[in-house]
Symmetry: D2
């Protein structure tokens, strides 16, 4: 990734580092050793693994590589907590991360504390390059904060007792979503991608011109109520609405509703970090796959926006606004409080495959594996979700998942040609 | 698909129809009943199925739908020979097409003859819409001519005796490929997509502007000799060259060379329609996947072109030129005879995911399933191959396959940023 | 296998050899090249493969090993037509036998003719050991005659057209099966196993004493009508009737009736070598697995007999009697014509696992692999079926299949403790 | 199961119950909440599940069914902790037992304590039938004590850190195993099966006569040193030594040594409850499958004993002797201290398929599912192991596993025909 030079006056990185690390700790605080250890599927990782892997990232790329004389906290940990960096050598199989009952959660917390102490002590003497890696590590850890929440949600959903991780939020007054408004764009050349101010991941650049065609994009995302209407209209049973791969996925897996939805009598419920509750018809629908998003758009006579249509529309909005993650609690998408919202609540599937921008080049070394090697088979999501740490999102941010995946807080914004 | 109105003067469609149908028959002529019946993998279909399915297409969408009083040749055939049209009802599972020993090859030939007679008789009275479907059916059958050859090649490769379908071509003089030249493009807005003259499939339009960035594209494709150097340099063993999905595919399947290649002592051989022979170092490499193409490009310090870079460069070239299919014989890529060649020999993987163009809309009814529903997970290939019927290709033609597939005549053309 | 010395007077082996070979040819006569080539599942082999493999057996173990100067008909055939003899070297994967469209059916017939000529010419000069191998080969080929019929039946059942291989038999008068009678045995030591006269496979000996306990065995097999009552009573939906592995198999495969049964309105039909027809309630049920047989017995308040209880009861009956295979036609189980029948119609699952007898030892060399290595995980069936060549069966004959397999003509005889 | 009437004088069942329950607790004592929760493969269960399931057994079949007014400790637990009793209703999928992080280990300990208190309070008033169920429950829990150890061993082996559960045992002096002696038996009728005194599981009876044939059985089991010689002689690479299913298993899984063995330089090591250490050549080999045991016996020119040969020879030996489980520690097979040993160290694979005895009948109700429904596809093991609670074993005891399973303490005793 390319990160812009960090401002070193008054060591703002120290504050930034502490803030990020502390939020991670508080997210994991309600978890028992066992909760934090178990892995519920290959795609998801145990919370303890997230706690340790983010720490390994700082230890490896900052302390080991840039602090003379640093000794590894435990030389067996790199094998356990490297995620996918081939250049860093062999590593534990992703699907077996749930076997690691030792080190314990407390030992991993000790690992975090030791690396925190070493890193904060070293910070004033770090080179600019090393400071950029600290900034990268903070952004990396923010990504894992979101994954920690979505992974533990999936794990708890596999327990027949359906435990709640957090207390429910106070009751909200019943809301009625406003009708969808359409933001029109006449087409023409616009600039997209990261422009140089502030941090960004490598895949967000280079900034470059793209040519848009005339279109309109919805000013809000699709709601649970609208999705229930799609279900009621037979949306999951009509092959003509679906991409061929999507239809095969629906049939092979018996898909008939978003992930975590369950019908109880006349009511659709969903499982969340506060346990199982009735859906809120006015809240954005979430935990839908690209396949479902695309089928819904077809059913609605619309399409998904391209990632650049989305970026052009979102550029005028505050990426730090909306329902995003500030502290540990039962995050979930909430009904709109009015006005177009591009950030918060749910990531929004776009119709764009995740591919490199013109002039994209991976950096040398292990961190060059950060994004580039995932550029096949996945689709771009834009925006941010209720589980994205506030301040992490940007209009040019590119999230990406496979079209069948839906355990993230993923939702749908429509677009159409003009 | 959208097809332009056919010119009905002197029924050129009759000539076109007969030419296409006759080439299909001659391609299948060397096959025994058993050869034509067996299915070697889910991706490939038996030759007999191709013979029947292309016939079913004409019978269903032209004769049944547009010729009053037409009676089906055999009312059990639609279940057997519908490929993937959900709107046409239930159909035989794709992976079980090899079970259909009855009807026999001779009976399927009878089916072809009967439908040919009925269609040619009806041709003068067909509406313009029906004539467009005949034109579509001819192009559809040309696609299946190429598949028939690649599918039978795969099937014969699974026979330990490695039978040859055709006699070998006469020996060619040893050629030395010219060094790769680079065609530069300064960037800017260009028009791409089908523009309205002649037939095209629906996914090739609408014609629209795209913005290119400055780049260069190779004037020839990668050769077997260059590929052998990639292998010798450890290309298949270096994770850093590969997309993550590609590396997983390499490891899960033990991939270490193009499909059909086999090392015999010091020599690389390949299996082809004329049996197993030594590779020709000067000929274009073929039977490589997108994953391999991408890894090769990375190894070579280049990248794959986008489909629009390719189209801009190819627009000046004759799509009916080069080594394409004119008659039944042991087709294979051949060394270049000089000059930039964009058509013939091998399809060329692009870096573009197969997605709809701005304004793309599927047509109503079953034929609307022709292309649109496959627009996820696949990559675009451009050009044409030694197995593409001459006249079928266009600069705006979009072929597409999954990134791991390689039983087609697929090859590599490099590009780079300027 | 151990075979008793063949009587060489007047070369009865020549007659025996010709009779066996000729029946095989006539069984395959209705098949096209394609019919004979396709493989419908891993367990089943193409008819052409049966024709060639049985020939390979004679060529390898008799001609190659015992006839000086014999040259292989085609030195590529051993790789193709060895079934499972590890000592004979590498061989084509069992699951890919359906890829062998070349050699053609006619070429395989030529292979048969050439080996027949060579073997009959060599017969008078063969050593006793070699003659025993000819006798073994004849019995081996008889086993493949039965497999040829059951394998082609499975293959044709996978064709949605459900072709008939043979014309239907003449209509039989409606029969009512007699009530089940019970043959009682007081228990005690009996002798079982092959005793030395005539041919037997190695696994049928040594002859030895076994101790039976007091029991009764049914004098007829279970009928289609009785099976329909089991279905109607919810037999396939009551876990308590099933072995745990059987219940898992039922649920994973959605089993709710014997193989080839299909409900059409109010009527149960079955697919057979004469196509699809209504079941005959009076005929023995067939195409049931051990799991089904065991569940039925539990439902009926009985159990399956042990293989030795069966053998003790069958010893008094003519193994060449009943409905067995005499010539090529649409064989199927038929209603009993009266009197206890232990042979013909259907193989009968026993409750005995297929394990070696006391003192069993495999012979040296490749033919030692004939039976011994299959002695885990399978159950013994006794008797013979409508597809067993008459003369092949013996009271001590041990057939064996895995408990889930049911494409053979397998049925059920009950027993109970006294 | 059939259990003999319990002697109620002075409530010996209370002492028995407390002893069993207390050993279980001590076995689990070294485990963290996470250790006790994770599931490493479908065959194995988490320790916490064993703690809870054994408790559920008492709660369901004794307290719920026989104590008026008893209220379930937690009415959600039966769904979680029923193992395989179809009659007890739906239950959590076996392969997902590792998802249950809640209830916590402490909560499960609370469940144990509550049921213990209720059961001990109720004991004096329980009917004889209920007391038999208590005795059954104690024997059931002893089985799970052994599973708890073998399952946690497997789980820890999946952690790259290979943690030790217990401290290593004190060093033993180097031992040299005595040569194998052979115990001869002339054959004849012997009685086998449970005879009526003391507890036994249902599958161990009825006691009945069997006819043995003359044979000899080894007076000790095969050692690690002998197994290393089998490996060195190419035992895992010679197809002729293996059953066909065994050879397929070897090849599909790359098997080349017992489970948990790993070659480090010149030395074979094994993983055990005390971590990874060098093998002791004099100790009995363990963690071998039936397939391996059978191949070894073939290599050694011998065979496996039948279960009745084993029982006849073992009848004279003390089932409470030898290396069995007395308390929580790093159990493992130990070198023989002299004299024939039939009990302790390792379970011994027999050549007998696990099938019912003459006259076997399952009891009514859920506990009737205890053994009978597993009587297909598995082989009988006899004796007991270092992980079997002392007092649990009997000469007539029938343990059973599938032929490929080897995570239990399974070993090999040879036999041969005379």
């Amino acid at each position: 990734m390319r990160a812009t030079p960090a401002d070193r006056s008054d060591h703002p990185l120290a504050h930034r580092y502490r803030t990020v690390r502390s939020l991670t700790d508080s997210l994991a605080a309600p978890l028992s050793d066992a909760d934090a250890t178990v892995q519920s599927m290959d795609d998801a990782s145990p919370a303890k693994w997230h706690l340790a892997h983010t720490t390994w990232f700082f230890e490896t790329f900052v302390l080991r590589d840039h602090v003379p004389g640093y000794t590894l906290h435990d030389d067996r940990f790199p094998f356990l907590f490297n995620s996918y960096y081939e250049a860093e050598g062999r590593r534990h199989a992703r699907s077996r991360r749930g076997m690691i009952t030792r080190p314990s959660l407390d030992e991993v917390r000790g690992y975090r504390a030791a690396v925190d102490a070493a890193l904060l002590a070293a910070l004033p003497t770090l080179s600019e390059a090393a400071q950029e890696l600290v900034a990268l590590g903070c952004n990396h850890e923010e990504q894992h904060q979101e994954l920690l929440l979505t992974d533990i949600l999936h794990h708890f959903s596999e327990n027949p007792l359906e435990p709640a991780m957090f207390a429910p939020e106070p009751k909200r007054p019943v809301a009625v979503p406003p009708p969808t408004g359409w933001i029109e764009h006449p087409g023409g050349i616009v600039q997209v991608g990261h422009g140089g101010q502030g941090f960004a991941f490598d895949c967000e650049g280079p900034r470059h011109d793209v040519l848009l065609h005339a279109h309109a994009i919805a000013d809000r995302t699709v709601t649970n109520g609208e999705w229930a209407a799609f279900i009621a209209d037979g949306g999951y049973r009509d092959a003509r609405l679906w991409l061929a791969d999507g239809w095969a996925w629906v049939q092979a897996n018996g898909i008939d509703a978003p992930l975590y939805w369950e019908r109880q009598g006349e009511v659709w419920t969903r499982f969340g970090l506060d346990g199982r509750r009735a859906i809120d018809p006015a809240a954005p629908v979430t935990h839908v796959s690209f396949f479902e998003a695309d089928a819904y758009a077809t059913w609605a006579g619309a399409r998904l926006p391209t990632e650049f249509e989305w970026e052009a529309a979102a550029a005028a909005h505050d990426p730090a606004g909306g329902n995003q993650l500030d502290h540990a609690h039962a995050v979930e998408p909430r009904p709109s409080s009015g006005g177009p919202a591009f950030f918060g609540d749910v990531w929004q599937w776009t119709g764009s495959a995740y591919r490199p921008y013109p002039g994209f080049r991976t950096v040398e070394g292990a961190v060059g594996e950060y994004n580039g090697k995932f550029m096949s088979g996945q689709f771009v999501l834009r925006g941010s979700s209720c589980a994205t740490p506030r301040g992490h999102a940007r209009a040019c941010y590119r999230n990406f998942f496979y079209p069948h995946q839906r355990w993230q807080f993923t939702g749908v914004r429509l677009a159409k040609d003009l």
